[in-house]
């Protein structure tokens, strides 16, 4: 029952936060300067007019109207199916990122020489701008053939999700694997436990509190990677593509782009929600203050 109580509490808090942000948005629209505020020529206050900040009600009502006039497809269906498409790509990216991240962490925990050699490159890999990488990876689509497997275009977007996801997971897991107290490690040694036994019986359990936040970061990283890849390479079907297509119409229909942006936000929440769900399960035997 404690668990149900915590979930209920979180749902209430979530709703309250949304209500608070909505109120803040509308309040700013009332008191904020219509044309924004400038201080020494630098814009510090955003514009409060309907073009820059549509009313929340306008944005929500946009969901129930058709995507384009004459089409019978309501925009919420389009956004939902776009989010679903991107969610599946993100999950593939996250799954690959988790696999790669944990494998690298184990390798680095096992062999000091690998850790010293590899870690700087991992850090460096994250400084490569995603938009520079995206066209390259996407060009594999339909060209790369491994045996009978032809690389599909959507997988390239997932790979970019993987690229952002594996790093926090690798670093977090590595930190976790090396966090076992030395007394416990020495105890395992005194039992003549093999490295593998130590890994599964001691190091991994000790790593869980480090891995959960890392997985959360990885999950949102996977979403960001996929959405950016969709924007930069125009992959059709996902939420990123919708954002850029609707952004073009922001001049005449400013609420439209927000529908897709909210879709992307919901996508990110769903992903970290999935991880939080696994967190409840993984951390079930631990004192609650470490759960985030």
């Amino acid at each position: 029952m404690k668990l149900a109580g915590r979930i209920a509490y979180r749902i209430v808090m979530f709703a309250l936060t949304i209500a608070f942000v909505t109120a803040l948005w509308e309040l700013y629209k009332i008191v904020g300067p219509q044309d924004g505020g400038k201080f020494l020529g630098v814009r510090i206050l955003p514009r409060a007019n309907d073009n820059a900040m549509p009313h929340v009600s306008t944005m929500l009502s946009r969901y129930s109207r058709p995507e384009v006039r004459g089409s019978d497809k309501k925009i919420w269906i389009v956004v939902l199916s776009g989010a679903w498409f991107s969610l599946r790509l993100s999950l593939v990216g996250f799954f690959l990122g988790t696999t790669i991240g944990i494998s690298l962490a184990v390798l680095m925990a096992r062999f000091n020489v690998i850790r010293r050699g590899l870690l700087p490159y991992l850090v460096m890999s994250q400084t490569v701008p995603l938009i520079a990488l995206a066209p390259l990876v996407v060009s594999w689509g339909g060209k790369l053939e491994i045996g009978s497997f032809v690389w599909p275009r959507w997988l390239s977007a997932s790979i970019l999700g993987t690229f952002l996801a594996f790093f926090p997971i690798a670093v977090g897991t590595l930190r976790g694997l090396t966090s076992a107290p030395s007394a416990a490690l020495e105890l395992m040694e005194s039992y003549a436990a093999s490295w593998k036994q130590t890994l599964f019986k001691l190091r991994f359990p000790a790593a869980v509190p480090f891995m959960v936040p890392a997985l959360k970061l990885g999950a949102s990283g996977a979403v960001v990677g996929v959405v950016v890849a969709e924007i930069s390479t125009g992959l059709k079907g996902g939420i990123g593509r919708l954002i850029i297509e609707y952004a073009r119409e922001a001049t005449g229909d400013p609420a439209k782009v927000f529908t897709a942006v909210f879709g992307a936000a919901a996508l990110g929440l769903t992903m970290s929600g999935l991880v939080a769900f696994s967190d409840l399960f993984l951390m079930r035997n631990r004192p609650k203050e470490t759960s985030t």
Binding site: A134, P135, K143, R153, G237, L242, G252
Partner: protein, 391 residues
């Protein structure tokens, strides 16, 4: 404990099904590339296996590329025994690079941008100049009094970058202004919000897209749509600094191969036939583009179709012919117009191999044999009424 293992199993099943679902994503993604195989018109009798052709566009599906979609939809490509796949562009996709890397057989690109790529080593050749005129404008509110490029002085001038700004530099240079000192160049978004909000005094706009966007927006003062009367428009074509835009580019390495030249001729012919179809059937082409997945509204798309037709027709020398004078002007401007750093788009004139009229001449002969009107001398643009948001 038992409860927990049940929960664990449920989580496991949920995760697995999601991952399985994700792996099934390929069929949805595959709809991206549409092919002409199953189209209406029956191919000629001698066509056994259609030649596969990939065309790389500069941007997402929209009426700017209607001719190619119409040729696909109306079976003009199939008639020429071609199986054409149209690849959409995106923010980070450069058609010139895609073509030079051999990932596409033909690409659509603006001449100045493509020549810059050619100077950078990409062996690409202009084989048909589809847009005979430039569609770039600089749009400003009436009260800014910007009617010529000389009025840009001291103003915030919006531009998109990525090689779409060359005409602005050419106009500034022609007006005797220094882009680095006399104007403030502002990076512009995909929408025209910057102009409406006043951040940009004069915004770059294509006649067929962004200019329509401002006319689809509601004027907060009057609660009605903005009208053309609210704006001043500087047309680079009218100012004499228009550069050639959408052209079909081919892979220069393969032009010595007779089979590729034959494919190119057929491809250009069928594409021009598609454009001729769109000239005479604007609404049908609008519908084709919408059915190919364009997210832009119907009235916006019809406006775009009409404006694009104006850039192509009438084509006195035949559609797709590369006019030496316009070409030379584009090259001269690319060499003389100074950018922010004082450099120019091209450092030297491109060699004679940068364009050829051989293919388009053969293609036009093919079309004239079929009775297609390739000059459009009687073409009259329509009047399109835009609605709010272009929907």
């Amino acid at each position: 404990m038992k409860k927990q293992s049940l929960k664990m199993a449920l989580v496991g099943v949920a995760v697995m099904s999601l991952i399985a679902g994700a792996c099934g994503g390929s069929d949805t993604a595959a709809t991206e590339e549409t092919t002409a195989t199953a189209e209406t018109t029956a191919p000629a009798a001698e066509c056994v296996t259609p030649t596969p052709v990939k065309l790389q566009l500069q941007w997402f599906t929209q009426a700017q590329f209607a001719g190619y979609y119409a040729a696909q939809d109306q079976g003009f490509y199939a008639e020429q025994c071609l199986d054409v796949t149209i690849l959409e562009g995106a923010v980070d996709i450069s058609p010139q690079t895609v073509l030079a890397n051999g990932e596409a057989d033909f690409a659509i690109s603006w001449v100045s941008k493509a020549l810059a790529s050619r100077e950078g080593g990409a062996n690409i050749v202009n084989i048909a100049q589809v847009f005979q005129r430039s569609g770039t404008l600089q749009v400003s509110f009436k009260d800014k009094n910007i009617t010529t490029p000389a009025d840009f002085k001291g103003k915030n001038i919006g531009n998109w970058g990525y090689g779409n700004e060359f005409e602005i530099f050419a106009a500034l240079t022609a007006a005797g202004l220094d882009p680095a000192k006399d104007v403030k160049l502002v990076q512009q978004q995909f929408d025209m919000a910057g102009l409406l909000a006043g951040d940009i005094d004069a915004a770059e706009a294509m006649t067929y897209n962004e200019y329509a966007q401002v006319l689809e927006a509601v004027n907060p003062k009057t609660k009605a749509l903005y009208t053309a009367g609210d704006f001043n428009v500087v047309s680079y074509e009218a100012e004499g600094v228009g550069m050639l835009q959408d052209a079909i580019w081919a892979d220069g390495k393969r032009l010595s191969d007779a089979a590729y030249v034959d494919t190119a001729t057929k491809f250009v012919a069928a594409s021009l036939q598609g454009w001729a179809f769109c000239r005479d059937n604007t609404s049908a082409c609008r519908d084709i583009v919408v059915s190919k997945g364009s997210k832009l509204g119907a009235s916006h798309q019809l406006w775009q179709m009409n404006e694009v037709n104006k850039l192509i027709w009438p084509a006195a020398g035949g559609a797709g012919m590369i006019d030496a004078a316009a070409w030379d002007r584009t090259v001269a401007l690319s060499q003389s117009a100074k950018n922010l750093e004082g450099g120019t788009v091209l450092t030297k004139a491109p060699d004679a191999g940068a364009y050829t009229n051989d293919i388009v001449t053969a293609a036009l002969a093919l079309l004239n044999g079929k009775g297609v009107d390739t000059t459009g001398s009687a073409y009259m643009p329509e009047t399109v009424a835009l609605t709010e948001g272009g929907n």
